[in-house]
C-alpha cells in the first residue's frame, strides 16, 4: 500500500458507497443452489457477504478506494457475473498495487464471457507485452497479468519477453509469469533466465525452478554456485537442497568453508547437504560446527543428524 494523500471528500464519498454495498451484499441469495444450498441450515451471519454486481460496478468507478476494499469486492464477487464490470476491472491490471493487479486478473480469469474472446481483455494484455512502445511498467504489468490468467497460451509470449525484453523489470515479471503458469517456458526460458545479467531475474528464475512441476535445466543452477551475488549463491544452494540434486554435493561442500564470505550462503549449503543426506560431505558439515556464525553452526548441528 503506497502512501498517497487522499482527500477527505473522497473518504466521505467512499463511505457512502460502502453503505450501499453493505445493504446490497446482505441480501439473501434468491435460489437454493450453489452457495445458498450448502449453507441453507446456517445463519447468514456465519457467512461472508457476497459482493453484488452493483457494488462492483459502482465502487470501482472511484479513484480512492482502498486496496483492501478492492480485494474484498473482487474476492467476494468471484462468481458474480457482471459483464459490465469487466472493463473497469481490466483497468486494474495496470494498478500500481501488485496485489490489486493480481486479484483483478484472478477475477477476470474466472469470468465466463468478455475476457478471452477475440479482441477482449486477454488479447489486449498480450498486445501490451509485445508492444515495445509501451512503458516498462505497462509491459511488466501485462506480463504479471498473463501469468495470473494462468492460460497456457501465454507461455510463448512471456517466454520471449523473459529472454529478450530490454527491461530487466519486464524480464523479471515474465519469469514470474512462467512460474505462475507452472511452465519452464518455450526453449526452457526459465533455465536460460538463470544466466540473466540482472540479479533479480536470476533470483526469480531460481524461485521458479523449485516451484514448477517440470524443470529441465538443473545444471544451470549449479553454475550459480559461482555467482557474484551472495543472495543468488544462497538461493542456488537452497534450490539444490529442496530439489535434492545429489550430484551437487561437492559444489555445496565448496560453499561451506570460510572462503565463502557470506554466512547465509554457508548456512544454506550446510542445510542443503543435510537434505541430500550424503555422508561423504560429513567432514565439511562437522567443520561447520566451528563456523564463526551461529546460524551456520545451527545448520550444521541439524544437518549432521541426517548424515
Amino acid at each position: 500500500m503506497k502512501t498517497k494523500l487522499r482527500s477527505f471528500i473522497g473518504v466521505t464519498l467512499f463511505a457512502g458507497v460502502c453503505s450501499l454495498a453493505q445493504s446490497s451484499a446482505a441480501a439473501d441469495p434468491s435460489t437454493l443452489s450453489g452457495r445458498a444450498k450448502v449453507y441453507e441450515s446456517l445463519d447468514q451471519s456465519s457467512l461472508e457477504h457476497v459482493t453484488s454486481a452493483s457494488a462492483l460496478s459502482t465502487e470501482l468507478r472511484f479513484e480512492n478506494v482502498a486496496p483492501t476494499r478492492i480485494w474484498k469486492l473482487l474476492e467476494h464477487g468471484e462468481k458474480v457475473e457482471c459483464l459490465d464490470c469487466i472493463p473497469r476491472v481490466s483497468k486494474l491490471l495496470y494498478n500500481s498495487n501488485a496485489k490489486t493487479r493480481e486479484i483483478s486478473a484472478w477475477w477476470l480469469r474466472r469470468r465466463i464471457f468478455g475476457v478471452f474472446g477475440p479482441g477482449e481483455v486477454y488479447s489486449q494484455v498480450i498486445g501490451t507485452l509485445q508492444n515495445s512502445d509501451e512503458t516498462d511498467f505497462n509491459r511488466a504489468y501485462a506480463a504479471n497479468a498473463i501469468g495470473e490468467f494462468l492460460n497456457p497460451a501465454g507461455v510463448p509470449v512471456v517466454s520471449k519477453a523473459a529472454l529478450s525484453d530490454a527491461a530487466a523489470s519486464v524480464r523479471l515479471a515474465s519469469v514470474q509469469a512462467l512460474e505462475r503458469l507452472n511452465n519452464e517456458g518455450s526453449e526452457m526460458a526459465i533455465g536460460q533466465a538463470l544466466g540473466d545479467s540482472d540479479e533479480g531475474v536470476r533470483l526469480a528464475a531460481l524461485h521458479a525452478a523449485i516451484s514448477i512441476n517440470v524443470f529441465s535445466s538443473v545444471d544451470q543452477i549449479l553454475v550459480l554456485f559461482g555467482d557474484p551475488s551472495a543472495l543468488v549463491r544462497r538461493r542456488a544452494a537452497e534450490a539444490v537442497g529442496a530439489m535434492k540434486l545429489s550430484d551437487a554435493v561437492m559444489g555445496l561442500v565448496a560453499l561451506t568453508d570460510q572462503r565463502e564470505s557470506a554466512p547465509e550462503v554457508r548456512a544454506a549449503a550446510v542445510w542443503a547437504i543435510g537434505q541430500l543426506a550424503d555422508s561423504a560431505a560429513r567432514p565439511a558439515v562437522e567443520a561447520a560446527l566451528s563456523d564463526s556464525n551461529p546460524l551456520v553452526r545451527n545448520a550444521a548441528a541439524i544437518s549432521l543428524r541426517r548424515l
Partner: protein
C-alpha cells in the same frame, strides 16, 4: 522507539498499577509450575511489528495487509520487528532478537515451563520465515542465544510447543507430489500446512502432516496435549475459517468449533483458557479487517462427556461475544478491533487492541491501526493498557508463566511413508445428527424432504473423493463451478450392517458422498478429512451425534471390519477422473464428451434439440465507457462438442457447447443471481448443478435404474418432471431411448456429483514430481 501518550499515562500510574492490572501478588521472576492457568505474572513476552517504512525522514511505504492479505496471512514482512520480554515489576524491556535489526516476527509461543520461546522470524527482505528458539533468560553476557531450527526456500510459521519438546508449525514447502497446494480460490497462492519437529532436531526431524486444501494458521497448544489451529475450509461453496485440533503427531484432525454456526465468517487466533476446551478467539471477516475482530469466548465443552469438546454446539450454545460493539464482519468499528487473546491466570484476557475503524477506512486515510497490549476484563467489559508503542504493533502477547506440561500424545504415529495407507470408515453410516441437530433434509428423486437418518439407510456405497487444486491440474478454475479438482479414490461397499471400511492414500484431503442405489450422492460432505500413514479414522456414522454412543447395527465387530478394508491406495495416474473433453489419453473411457457425442449429439446439436429446432438465449454486456454491447448466444441444450461462439474461463480456445449448455443455467444462479448480465430469451432448466446430480434436470430427464433392480427407476416413469420447462412433460427412460448404458449415465452422475468440473489432471497434461516430498526421498 517512541512511546504513545497512553503509555506515558501508564508510566505515570507507576509500576504498581501495571502489576495490579495483571493481578501480580508476590510476584516472582522464577516461573512456578502450578498448573496451567495458575501462577503469577511478572513478565510478558510479545512481538513488536512494524507497518511503516521511513527512509530519510520520509514515509515510503505503509503495509498493513501484504502477504496474502487475509486472516490467514503468513507473508507480511516489514523490517524492524522485535521480540520483547517486558518485566512488569520494573518496566525493563529486553529485545531477544536485538542482533537482527532488519527482522520481522510473525508468531511466538512459550514452552510449558516458560523457560524457552519458539518464534518465527524473517531476518530480512531476502529471507524466508523460519522457526527459531531462545531462552527467556539472558546468558552471562546479557544476550539471548538464538537458535535457528528450520531452513530452506519456504516459509515456516505459527510455531507452538507440544509436549515432549516437540514443535508444531505451518509450512508452505512443496509437500505433495504436485508441489505445494495452490488453492485456486486463494489465487493459487502457496498454501500453508502443518508440520512438526523436535526442539533438538529441528529440520532433521521435520515431519509433514496430512493436508487440507487451503491454509492452516494460528496454532495453539491444548491442555489435553492436542494442537489447535484455525483452518480455512474451502470446499466448493463452503468458504470460512473454523477451529480444528489434532494430536501433535498429526493424527485425528477434528473440528472443534465453527462448523455449525458462529458469529462471523472466520474464527482465528484462538488460545485455550484456564478451563479445558474453553477458548478465546477472534471472530471477523476473512479479509479487510487487518486480521483483527471481535473478542469471543467459545465454550466447546461437551455437556455429556467430561474432558471432551463438542463441535456440534450451536452458535448460541458455544459462543459468547465479549466485545459486542465490535463488528464480526468488516464494517467500520465504533470500538476498535482486537487480536491474539490469551486468558490470564485471574480470568482476564491479555489481548492486542487498536482503536479506530480498523478496516479499509484506516487504509484509505493512511492511518494504520495502532495495536497495543491491553488487559481486557470480560466481567466488567473494560480494557486497560499494558504496553503500546505509537508507531508499531504489539502482538501475540503471552504471560511468562509456567504451566503443567500436557500429556505426550506423540508416540502413536511414526511412519513417514506415503505408501502406507490411512484407513477410514463408519460403524453404521446411517448414524447421524445432521437432521436431529442441524435440520438437514434430502429431496430429489426418491426423497421428498426425507431426514438424513432415513435417507442414509438407503446408502449402498460411500464415494471417496480426493480434492486437489491448481497445483495439480495446472489450471485455474475447473469450469463453471466452484468445486475443486476431484478424483474418485473408490466407492466403498456399505455392508448390511451399514458399516464400511477403506484404505486410502495418506496425507491426501478427501470428502465423502454416501450414494444410493441410483449412484447419486445422498449428501456431499462439506469438510475435508485426511489421515496419516497407518492412521485409522473410523467414525460412528455419517456425522454421528458427537455426544452419543456409536453402536453398530448388530454385532461388536462390523461386517466391514470382518471383511477387511477395501484397498483404494491408487497411484495418481490411475485414479478415476472425468475430464469433460480433450483427455490427454485419447482412449480415456471416462471422457464425458465422448459419451455425449456418441449418444446425444445426434439429436441435441447446433440445429436441433430433440424433435424441435435448437433454441438459444443471449447474454449481453455493455462497456460503460464506450457503450458498446457484446452479446453471447447460448444454446438451450446442445450436447455436441462444437466450439460455440463464446469463450469462457481463462481459455482462449472455444469450449464445447455441451459444457456451457449444461452448466451455464446453474452458474447464473450460483451466487446472487444474474447481476448486471442482461439475459434475453428463456434460460433453460438447471440441467446440471455442480455436486447435485439429484437436482440436475439432465439426470432426471435421462433417468437411471437401480444398481440392484434394473426395473426400478430413480424417477418413476410417467410422472411429471419437476421442472415444467422440460420437453415431453412426463418422465421416461430417456437414457435407454438414446442408447445410453447405465454405466454411461453413472459417469454423468459422478461427473456432476463430483462438482461438474471441466478440468481434471487427465486433460491438462499433468505430471507429478519425481521425488516424494512427503518422505523426503530423493528421486
Amino acid at each position: 522507539m517512541a512511546r504513545s501518550h497512553s503509555l506515558a499515562r501508564l508510566a505515570q500510574l507507576g509500576t504498581a498499577s501495571v502489576l495490579g492490572l495483571l493481578g501480580l501478588l508476590g510476584c516472582s521472576s522464577t516461573p512456578e509450575s502450578q498448573g496451567r492457568g495458575i501462577g503469577d505474572v511478572s513478565k510478558i513476552i510479545y512481538a513488536v511489528r512494524q507497518h511503516t517504512v521511513v527512509d530519510g525522514g520520509k514515509v515510503v511505504n505503509i503495509d498493513v495487509a501484504s502477504g496474502m492479505g487475509q486472516v490467514m496471512d503468513y507473508g507480511r514482512f516489514v523490517p524492524g520487528g522485535r521480540l520483547e520480554l517486558f518485566d512488569l515489576r520494573n518496566n525493563h524491556v529486553d529485545n531477544i532478537i536485538e542482533d537482527y535489526k532488519t527482522a520481522d516476527v510473525s508468531s511466538l509461543d512459550l514452552s510449558f515451563d516458560a523457560t524457552k520461546v519458539v518464534f518465527t522470524m524473517k531476518r530480512d527482505e531476502s529471507d524466508d520465515y523460519h522457526v527459531y528458539w531462545a531462552p527467556t533468560t539472558p546468558n552471562a553476557a546479557g544476550k539471548f542465544d538464538v537458535t535457528q531450527l528450520t531452513f530452506g526456500p519456504y516459509d515456516d510459521q505459527n510455531a507452538v510447543f507440544a509436549a515432549g519438546n516437540r514443535i508444531v508449525f505451518t509450512t508452505n514447502q512443496g509437500y505433495t507430489e504436485m508441489g505445494t497446494r495452490a488453492d485456486e480460490y486463494n489465487h493459487s497462492r502457496r498454501v500453508t500446512q502443518l508440520a512438526s519437529m523436535t526442539l533438538e532436531g529441528g529440520d532433521a526431524d521435520r515431519k509433514l502432516c496430512s493436508q487440507n486444501l487451503s491454509h492452516i494458521v494460528t496454532l495453539f497448544p491444548m491442555q489435553d496435549g492436542r494442537i489447535g489451529f484455525a483452518r480455512w475450509e474451502h470446499l466448493e461453496n463452503v468458504n470460512y475459517v473454523k477451529l480444528f485440533a489434532m494430536n501433535p503427531d498429526c493424527t485425528q484432525m477434528l473440528a472443534v468449533g465453527g462448523q455449525h454456526g458462529k458469529p462471523g465468517n472466520s474464527v482465528v487466533q484462538a488460545s485455550e483458557g484456564n478451563t479445558a476446551n474453553v477458548f478465546y478467539a477472534i471472530v471477523t471477516n476473512r479479509e479487510n479487517t487487518i486480521q483483527a475482530g471481535s473478542l469471543v469466548r467459545i465454550d466447546a465443552r461437551s455437556a455429556v462427556l467430561p474432558g471432551a469438546f463438542d463441535e456440534e454446539k450451536s452458535e448460541k450454545e458455544a459462543y459468547e461475544l465479549l466485545t459486542p460493539n465490535v463488528p464480526t464482519d468488516d464494517s467500520e468499528s465504533p470500538e476498535g478491533r482486537y487480536r491474539s487473546p490469551v486468558e490470564l491466570p485471574d480470568g482476564r484476557v491479555l489481548v492486542s487492541w487498536a482503536e479506530g475503524p480498523v478496516n479499509e477506512v484506516s487504509e484509505v486515510i493512511d492511518t494504520p491501526p495502532d495495536y497495543g497490549l491491553y488487559v481486557f476484563d470480560p466481567k466488567l467489559h473494560q480494557r486497560e493498557l499494558v504496553q503500546n508503542y505509537e508507531d508499531s504493533w504489539e502482538l501475540y502477547a503471552q504471560p511468562v508463566v509456567a504451566q503443567t506440561e500436557p500429556p505426550d500424545r506423540s508416540s502413536r504415529q511414526a511412519v513417514v511413508d506415503s505408501s502406507t495407507p490411512a484407513t477410514i470408515g463408519s460403524i453404521d453410516v446411517a448414524l447421524t445428527s445432521l437432521t436431529s441437530k442441524h435440520g438437514e433434509h434430502v429431496s430429489g428423486a426418491q426423497f421428498d424432504n426425507a431426514t438424513l437418518d432415513e435417507a442414509l439407510r438407503q446408502a449402498v456405497r460411500v464415494r471417496i473423493i480426493e480434492g486437489f487444486s491448481s497445483e495439480a491440474a495446472n489450471q485455474t478454475m475447473f469450469g463453471l463451478t466452484m468445486a475443486e479438482g476431484a478424483a474418485i479414490l473408490g466407492e466403498a461397499e456399505v455392508q448390511t450392517d451399514r458399516s464400511w471400511l477403506a484404505q486410502i492414500p495418506p496425507y491426501v484431503p478427501v470428502h465423502l458422498q454416501p450414494i444410493d442405489e441410483f449412484d447419486m450422492a445422498i449428501r456431499s460432505q462439506t469438510t475435508w478429512i485426511q489421515g496419516m500413514p497407518g492412521e485409522g479414522r473410523v467414525c460412528g456414522g455419517c456425522h454421528e451425534d458427537r455426544t452419543g454412543s456409536n453402536v453398530g447395527a448388530g454385532q461388536q465387530l462390523t461386517i466391514a471390519a470382518g471383511k477387511g478394508p477395501q484397498n483404494f491406495l491408487v497411484p495418481i495416474k490411475d485414479r478415476v477422473e472425468y475430464p469433460w473433453d480433450a483427455a490427454d489419453d485419447a482412449g480415456n473411457p471416462n471422457e464425458i464428451q465422448k459419451i455425449l457425442t456418441a449418444k446425444c449429439a445426434t439429436c441435441h446439436n447446433q440445429t436441433t434439440n430433440g424433435n424441435a429446432p435448437q433454441q438459444t438465449y443471449t447474454v449481453t454486456m455493455t462497456n460503460p465507457t464506450t457503450m458498446v454491447s457484446t452479446s453471447y448466444e447460448i444454446p438451450r441444450l446442445d450436447l455436441s462438442d462444437r466450439p460455440i461462439t463464446v469463450t469462457y474461463d481463462r481459455n482462449t480456445r472455444a469450449w464445447p457447447a455441451s459444457y456451457v449448455s449444461l452448466f451455464y443455467p446453474a452458474a447464473l444462479e450460483m451466487e446472487t443471481g444474474q447481476g448486471k448480465t442482461t439475459v434475453v430469451g428463456t434460460v433453460p432448466p438447471k440441467w446440471a448443478i455442480p455436486s447435485d446430480a439429484r437436482h440436475s434436470v439432465l439426470i432426471e430427464k435421462l433417468n437411471v435404474t437401480s444398481s440392484r433392480d434394473a426395473t426400478k427407476y430413480a424417477w418413476p416413469l410417467g410422472a411429471m418432471f419437476s421442472d415444467t420447462q422440460v420437453a415431453g412433460g412426463t418422465r421416461t427412460d430417456h437414457a435407454a431411448m438414446a442408447g445410453l448404458t447405465r454405466d454411461e449415465v453413472v459417469k454423468l452422475i459422478r461427473s456432476i456429483d463430483m462438482g461438474g468440473q471441466y478440468y481434471a489432471r487427465q486433460n491438462t497434461a499433468f505430471k507429478p514430481f519425481a521425488a516424494d516430498p512427503v518422505s523426503g526421498k530423493a528421486p
